[in-house]
Structures are given as C-alpha cells and as structure tokens.
Symmetry: C2
Subunit: 476 residues, 2 copies
C-alpha cells in the first residue's frame, strides 16, 4: 500500500490545505452541479452530532420542529422591502413544473421568513396563541458565484428558528437566548471560542431590526460568522399581517425573531483545530472518538485483534464512538496516517509485547502525546483523555484568539495589522466609513462584542467621535 | 368556550373526514403554493418519532447518512431510459438562478438515483470499497395535479437508501432486508399490518429490475403503498459507469438497491386507526402519550393541579411523553374533546373526590375504556395501559385486514367485491390484462405477497393460466 500523499501545509496555502483536507478526510466533495456539494458520511456524521446537540437545546428552551414548503411564490419575497433587496441576487427560480410553465415563478427558499409568516398569520388569532416557537431543519439555496466546500455553497443545510411574541422585550430576550445557545454549541461542543455581539446596520440581516452573531477566528486569522440571531421587530408581521388580539381586545402585530446556523459550522470546525496531518476534531463531535489498531503479523495479529475486540466492546458499551481497524492488508503506519487524516481523537495501539505486559499505547490526536496504560481500566483512561482533549483544544483555541486580538488606535496600526486577526478599533458608526475601510483594507466589522467595555473614542479612519470599539477582521 | 365542532364522520365522507382531521389535529395544512403542505409541530413530532426508529434500524444494519444535492442536471435524468420516462411528467425545473438564465436547466430531485450514481462512480474503485450503504433524509419534489395532505403532495419529506454491492445476490438480500425494516416499522411501531410482496412489472419503480412493497389497508378499504424497496440491478451503474475492479482484476458494474418511505406514512397512520372523534395514535409514535387533566374549580383546582404535577413529573422521569393541561379557563369536557382530537393515548382525570380517595381515572383513547386506579403505582399502570393500547391497536387492525381480505375466483366476484378490500385473484401476468382490470373496476395490483402460497389457476379476467394469485385493491 502506498504512503498517503501529504496535504499542502497551512503555511504553504491555507485555502488549498482546507479544500484538500475536506476532500481527503471524506467530509465532502464538489458535485457536477455548480456550487453544490455532496456531504459524505464522515462529514454528515459531524452534522448529525451538531444537530443532536442543538435540537436538544432548542427543545429545552420550548421550541418545536415543523416543516414549511421549500418553494416560495416570488411575490412573497417582495412583501418586505429590505428582504427582497438583500436576497434577490441569490435566488434560484422554478419557472416550469409538471410539463408546463408556472403562472407565477417559485423561488427556492433562501430563508423562510416570508412563507412562514404567510402561515403564522393564519395560525395566530389571540394572545393565547403566543408565543409561537418553531424551528425547522432544512436545505436552502442561495446562488453563489464563488463557492467553497461547507463555507459557501449554493445549497446548504441549516436550521432556522422562527418565533412570535406579544412584546418587543420578549422578542429581544428570545433573540439573545438563542445566541447564547449558539455560543454554548460553539464553545462547549466545538471547542471554538466566539465573540458574541451585535452586527452593525450594514451587516445585519435583510429585514431585521437588529442582528447578533457569534464570530470565530480561524487559523489563518480570518473571522468566520458562525451563527446569527435576529430581532425582526414587526417588519415581517406588518408585511404579512401577522396579528393577534390582545387582552385589550385590539389587534396587534406580533414581534418576531429568527436565528440559524448551517453546515458552514463544519468548515469552522476544520479551520479552527485541524493541522497539516489532517482533521483534529473535538471528542464531543467527532464521529470516531477512538480507533483501535492491532499490531503484529499472522498469529500475533490474531491475538492483538482479540484483545482489541474486548476493549472495543467495552468502549461501545460505555457509549464511546469506537472503531476497530481490522484490515490486515495495510500496515500500522498507514493506518496511523489514515486515522490522523480522519480526525480520530484517540488511537489505541496494541501489539504482542503490549499484550504480554497487559498494556497498550494511547495516543492523542490533538497534541500527539502518547502514553502506555494498563489494559485494566483502559476505558476509564480513554474517558479521561477524551475529556482532556476537549478541554485542551478549547484552551489552545482561546489562546490563539487572545494572541491574535489587538487593540488598534490609529489608521497606521489598522494597515499594519490588517491580516493579524481581530482588531478592536473605534469607528464613527457611519456605513460610508465602514465601506471605505472594507474597500481599502478588506476589513469588515464583525460585531460589537457584549463583553467589551464601551468607552468613547475617535474613529481610526475619520477621527470622528465613536461610542465604542467594534471588531474588524478579514472574513469568510 | 364553545364546544368544538364535530368532524364529518368516516361513514359520511371518508375523504372529508381525513382532511378535516389532519387540519383540526394540527398535523398539517395546505400552503398557498399549489400542492405543497406545511407540516405543523404536532405532525412533525410524529415524523421525528418515525425518523428516530428508522434511523436506528438503518444504522444497526450498517448504513450511514449522507447528503446529495437537490438540484440535478436535466441531462442526468435522461441517462436511464425507463427512469426519465417515469419521472418526466412530474419534474419541477429551475431555469434561472443568480439573476441569469442557466446554461443547463436543473431539476429538483424527484428521487436521487442519478445524482448519487454520478458520485458513486467517483468513490468506488475497488471491491474493497464495497458494499456502499448510504441513506439520506431529504425533501423531494414530484409535481402533482391532485394532491392530498401527506398522501400526495408536490414536495414531501422522505428517506432514500442507496447501496452498491459486488454481487446480484447481495443486492437482492439488501433489497429484502430493508423491506423487512419497513415491515417492522409498520407493524411494531405504527401498529399497522402490511402485506410484503413483489410489485408487478407495470407497477415497479422506473429504472428498477424488481420492486417490493409493503401495502396497508385503510379503513375505507383502499390500499396504501407504505414503503418500497428496489433491486436496481446494474441499470443505473451502466448508465453512469459505476464500476469496481474485482479480485479478478477486471472492471465490473456494481449491483444496486434503493428504498424509501415518506411523510405519507403519517397519512397511513391516520387512516388506519383514527375515528370520528379525532386521532388515534399508537403509543410508540404518539407525541402525547398521556395527558393529565386536573378537575375542580378554584381551590379544588389548585389541589388537583398539584397532584397532577407530581404524576406528570414521575411520568416524564420514566421517559413517558406526558402533557399537563394547566389551562383553568376551559372546562374538563372541552379538554377531553381537544385531547381526543389530538390523539393523546391515555387521559388521567383527577378531581378533589379522587384525591380524597388517593386515586385517579385512567381513560384509554383507543378503546374508550376507563378505570379507576390508585395514585400509588399510577406510573406502572400507565406503562401497562400504553403497552396494552399498542398491542390492541395492532390486533384490531389485523382483524380489520382479515375481515376485508377475500379470495376471489371469478370476474363476477371481482365486480361484486371491487370496493371490499384486498382481493386475492388469479391474473395471467399480462400488463394489458392488468390495465383492463384497472380501467373497468379501478382495481390495481398491489403486490404478490410472500406469504401467500402460490398455487396455479386461471386469470379471473381472461381465463388464461396464472402462476399464482396477486392482491388487487383500489388504492391511494
């Protein structure tokens, strides 16, 4: 068996490294349909793990799943002015169906605020029907000119939450509650630290009153918007007539929110933790937490395999996602590389000498540490090391963000640090200034982090007054 | 609160009863987009329960989930001759995207054999890559002129399994293995007896070598095809060049299968068990297994509510899907009707007199039986009654099928029994005869059941020789 070809390194070309890795680790592949991807089983298994974490948190916060049509009458899209302006360039349109031309073209949902409001308007009559808290897991289509696996594809999978409330305050609380759910997913499961904060006016969702995001920093020091939560106010409610009769007997428009994360998160996971040998995945989300590799030839292999089978069964019984690599035709070295590529969190090596000493080797993927452990109690060691890997990956990622976050106080510093990571800078709050900074340095505002003390200052670009720093960064 | 309006009864108009029930029980609703439905939370929760049962069985039989693009180049559809002929009339076509006309139109997947084979052809090189066992949970679009909620909609949700094997025999085994998974879902979870068997040539999937189905009998004595499993042979493999290098060093086309069930199953569930008061759902799939209704006014209500809360907490802790109806503004009678409509399997009524005697009333939805049980040990009684309801519903449904299945030996009998249910009749195996019977009596062949002894006979229509009986029925 030939040694697997090496990946382009991150330093050589981060973008090539990323795409090669996604394909070599069998996470996803391009399809012949422009901009659309195939999510392969190893990639989809990560998505299923993310889904299961999120779905549980959605239900714990009172949400129910539902499903709305993918096809939206074109006229619906035009009912909310900002919304249509924002999404028009990305729409895919069905003009023919069932052998004939449609009377009205149907667009493939780029997001479902419009079709959902058309139904909410029918379901909601009274204040007793509120709040309405629904979520849907779905595919959406936003036509893209330049695509990259997981990060930007014409069709992608996501969840979109849609809620209706009687008051502005409840809607705002919901908006922030769901942002916090996303933060927990990112930090506690993906081991990916994020900045929680509010987007600027020009970066907010088309049709929202305000948009909040979680922003992560990739290893190439570019930001990635990993999730958004929108306070929609009454914009869509007014466009679609979504009203309720209040306790006062009067009709009122509902206050709404929407929030979503997508398969883009898999790209974020890859770019946060992986290395030049392949995937590094946090144990809580990795499809393969442990891989067992029996060492030896012929009879020795059989003995090693038997011992590995016992450990494998014990790990499975403890709910650990364990894999036994029984293939006798490839060398242990080949298998090591293969499973490093696939992001198995822990590797257990066990050969005849180990067996004689009732021990095995435990190797961590995230930091390459190896230790010899007794077969007695190996499952406990595995659990400890998985927990340690999860924790250490988050700490390392936090350190990376800290090391690449800078307070910037002048335009010279902005220019100098344009590729350096998160830049905390004063800005005058003008969309024109924001556009200018983007144009000159490729830096966009990410968000205004909640945990950043808001002291006054002067805009790094114009010198005009600023109410507080925002985060600038190059971004995906 | 007004008494809820009654449903049209099944006897008055089965079709009206069905649609009214689906809407009143908040399972689903039509959308403004022709033929597309909204699956509401109560309906989607049933789908989630079905998904979770199936997904577990798919994984236990070695399958992994993946996701393939929804948009398929029109040219792909034309590669397999029967396939394009079968699906052409139902295709929805995207002609414009991103503000311009597409070079090649893209169809919305009616099923994914073509796009999946385009990828399998790249993934599979050697016999070591086989078998490939994947499944996807997805939406599909088949444009329909006449639609009915869940039963026939232009967009629906389903799962589609797609597998590749080295040999014809393995593919055939897989085809039948997955049909058995569907049978188990139908009988053990849905409490819906089914006939497992092979479809005739004219009823098989467009592009398959052979198609097998599970067929259920609805309360109006019409059949519903509830799931299909196809042996695709090498048809798609040859059309797309899906080949592997065998141990013999030669290239071979793979043998394939595909199999699917859809949200149509929810319609089948409704039409198998429900009654004129509303939904009757098997406990294993019902979103609400128990509803607790505190009885009494003012202070008495508070005491009843407290006692109900204790039971509710205990039921939840045992993993029972329990619901506590705390609303003080509606009467117990109103709530009884409401929860009968929604298909709550068991109702617990508890008032001040019950409380004094440390007891409560347990009422079953499926057979309307009521019993008084002690509060001590009520959770055990609930578990027993849920199991009993699941079992009894299946037995009743089995009896219904037995009572409405007839051996038919002449054309006169066929005419007489055309609306009577499953008809076991000899048929000469000719598509023309099949078409004639359909045209004259509206009866189609459902399948040739595995468990039906195949004795020779004479066709009821032509008198020509028959190799064995097939099942005829009017159908959805």
């Amino acid at each position: 068996m030939a040694q697997a070809e090496k990946l382009t390194t991150r330093e050589e070309n981060f973008s090539d490294w990323y795409v090669e890795l996604v394909r070599r680790a069998k996470l996803a592949d391009y399809s012949e349909v422009k901009g659309c991807m195939v999510i392969r089983p190893h990639g989809y298994a990560i998505w299923e793990n993310i889904q299961s974490v999120l779905d549980k948190m959605f239900k714990e916060t009172g949400h129910q799943n539902a499903y709305f049509p993918m096809l939206i009458p074109e006229s619906y899209m035009r009912k909310e002015a900002e919304h249509v302006e924002g999404f028009s360039p990305q729409l895919a349109v069905v003009t023919h169906a069932g052998g004939g031309k449609l009377e009205e073209p149907l667009v493939l949902r780029p997001t479902s605020e419009t079709i959902i409001n058309a139904n909410f308007a029918k379901w909601i009559q009274s204040h007793r029907d509120l709040p309405v808290l629904v979520n849907q897991w779905a595919n959406v289509v936003r036509w893209e000119m330049r695509t990259r696996l997981f990060l930007r594809t014409s069709e992608f999978l996501w969840q979109e939450g849609h809620t209706c409330h009687a008051t502005e305050q409840e809607a705002q609380e919901e908006t922030l509650r769901m942002l916090e759910v996303y933060r927990r997913l990112a930090e506690e499961w993906m081991a990916m630290p994020v900045l929680c904060g509010q987007k600027t006016e020009s970066e907010k969702f088309a049709g929202a009153v305000s948009t909040y995001s979680i922003e992560a920093l990739m290893q190439d020091k570019k930001a990635l918007q990993a999730g958004t939560s929108h306070n929609l106010g009454q914009n869509f409610a007014k466009a679609f007539g979504t009203q309720y009769q209040g306790k006062d007997g009067q009709q009122h428009h509902v206050y709404q929110t929407s929030w979503g994360v997508s398969t883009r998160l898999i790209g974020a996971l890859v770019m946060t933790h992986s290395d030049d040998k392949g995937l590094v995945l946090p144990p809580k989300l990795s499809p393969v937490q442990v891989v067992l590799i029996p060492i030896g030839k012929k009879e020795a292999f059989v003995f090693s395999l038997e011992a590995c089978k016992n450990i494998h069964a014990e790990l499975l019984s403890k709910g650990i996602r364990s894999k036994l690599d029984e293939d006798e035709s490839t060398s242990p070295g080949f298998k090591f590389h293969e499973w490093e590529m696939m992001g198995a969190c822990l590797r257990i090596e066990l050969g005849p000498k180990d067996l004689a000493k009732r021990q095995c080797v435990l190797a961590r993927r995230d930091n390459a540490e190896k230790q010899v452990v007794a077969l007695e109690g190996v499952a406990e060691r595995v659990v400890e090391q998985l927990e340690a890997a999860q924790r250490d990956m988050f700490i390392r990622a936090q350190k990376f963000v800290a090391d690449n976050t800078f307070v910037v106080n002048s335009w010279e510093e902005m220019c100098e640090k344009a590729d350096a990571g998160f830049l905390l800078a004063h800005w005058d709050g003008e969309a024109a200034t924001e556009a200018l900074i983007k144009q000159e340095l490729g830096l966009s505002t990410r968000n205004r982090p909640f945990n950043l003390p808001q002291e006054k200052g002067l805009c790094v670009k114009t010198g005009k007054p600023s109410v507080g720093r925002v985060v600038f960064c190059k971004s995906y």
